[in-house]
Amino acid sequence: MDNPRQSDNQLDRILGAGALSGPEADRLWEQIAPKVIQPAPSWRTAVASWWLRGGVGLVMAAAAVLVWRIPDSMDGMRPRGGLGQAVLEGSCGSPVPCTVGQPLFLRVTPASANVMLFVLLRDAQHTSLLVDGVVLTGGLQTLNVRVVPEAADAAAGMTLDFWTFESAPAADVKDALRAGRLKPQGTLHVPVKAAP
């Protein structure tokens, strides 16, 4: 009260009757968030490809529950500079198996920074390149991808093959990758059950 020029925080605290006011909390979160939230994948140098499946859009990944983790061995599989030991993780918000219609989110931990990630989705009806050369900046990174299992997936589930490369792969390598002829560095199998 003796301070002739009180800070916004002090005035907001008085207006909050002593509680942490909304403006204070907002200012704090603006400072904290950049330090604790992983940056989104960089799209500047990568070709981002978002695929639509079954009329459902691929959107920014939201809060999700990690339900399984399959670090596939990459022994003997380092295509053109691809780095081993990347880990692809999936989450559909509940224990496996995922339910038809329940979105699946993906995140990846690359073995090193600045590699390009490719993810091929194989399910009952499609084979499509889900992630097409997204540059991973290092550390755990959520992918801007959401996949919604369809009824046809309930029988055999979905399979996600993935590769990382230090630089953009040649066209023939990408063709082989799309066609499923290139051995994946890792595979994530997603069991799916019918909706109740």
Partner: protein
């Protein structure tokens, strides 16, 4: 958080929404600890932090730590999150006290363990916080006089945005306002208080030094 599985998993996975929710829900509780200080079980007292701006600095440090990947993974999800948070707040306060050389000489020099802090009952989100109203009688009196000058809509805004502490986004939703209007009102009310305070101080009776 410990009994909310999606929240807990989102927190562990570093999902932005879960991290922000953790901050918004638990920041008021961390603030309570900051401004009342604590006695460690092994002896020593760490002073309460009374300066609002320093409280902000320390709150920021607390949540940068508690939301970092390394510290997040240390939360077992079994104990109440408030207990876990209390340990982090204690360490940040102790470091600040040491920095200012205000900690008592017999205070511990090693990091505070969870068990060191007074074992008050864990706080559960949604329940009243102890010592929530930590403004002086003068400030309370100022606030009441200032509120009396506001319109009913402005008073409702103060209640939602300042007293309840909701985010700008949620305040806009709750009050049916655009976010730009929320910002405008916020500034107007804050600056109004600044101006009103000057006049109020000039007009009030001399201060009793013991109050």
């Amino acid at each position: 958080m410990s009994d909310d599985r999606p929240w807990l998993d989102g927190f562990r996975n570093g999902e932005p929404a879960a991290l922000e929710r953790t901050f918004r829900v638990y920041a008021p509780y961390a603030l309570v600890i900051l401004r009342r200080g604590f006695t460690a079980s092994r002896g020593g007292y760490v002073n309460a932090v009374t300066d609002v701006d320093l409280q902000h600095d320390l709150l920021q440090e607390v949540f940068v730590r508690v939301l970092s990947p390394q510290v997040r993974q240390r939360y077992d999800g079994l104990r109440p999150f408030s207990v876990f948070l209390r340990g982090v707040v204690g360490n940040v306060m102790l470091e600040e006290a040491r920095r200012q050389q205000k900690a008592m000489a017999r205070g511990p020099v090693e990091p505070v363990e969870l068990e060191d802090l007074p074992e008050a009952a864990p706080w559960t989100p949604g329940t009243p916080l102890p010592e929530q109203a930590a403004i002086s009688q003068q400030e309370r009196s100022l606030m009441q006089d200032y509120l009396a000058t506001l319109t009913p809509e402005e008073r409702r805004f103060v209640g939602v945005r300042f007293e309840e502490g909701v985010s700008q986004r949620d305040a806009a939703d709750a009050l049916g306002l655009g976010r730009h209007m929320v910002r405008t009102l916020e500034t107007r009310i804050r600056e109004g208080l600044r101006t009103f305070q000057d006049q109020w101080r000039r007009n009030r009776p001399p201060e009793n030094p013991r109050t």
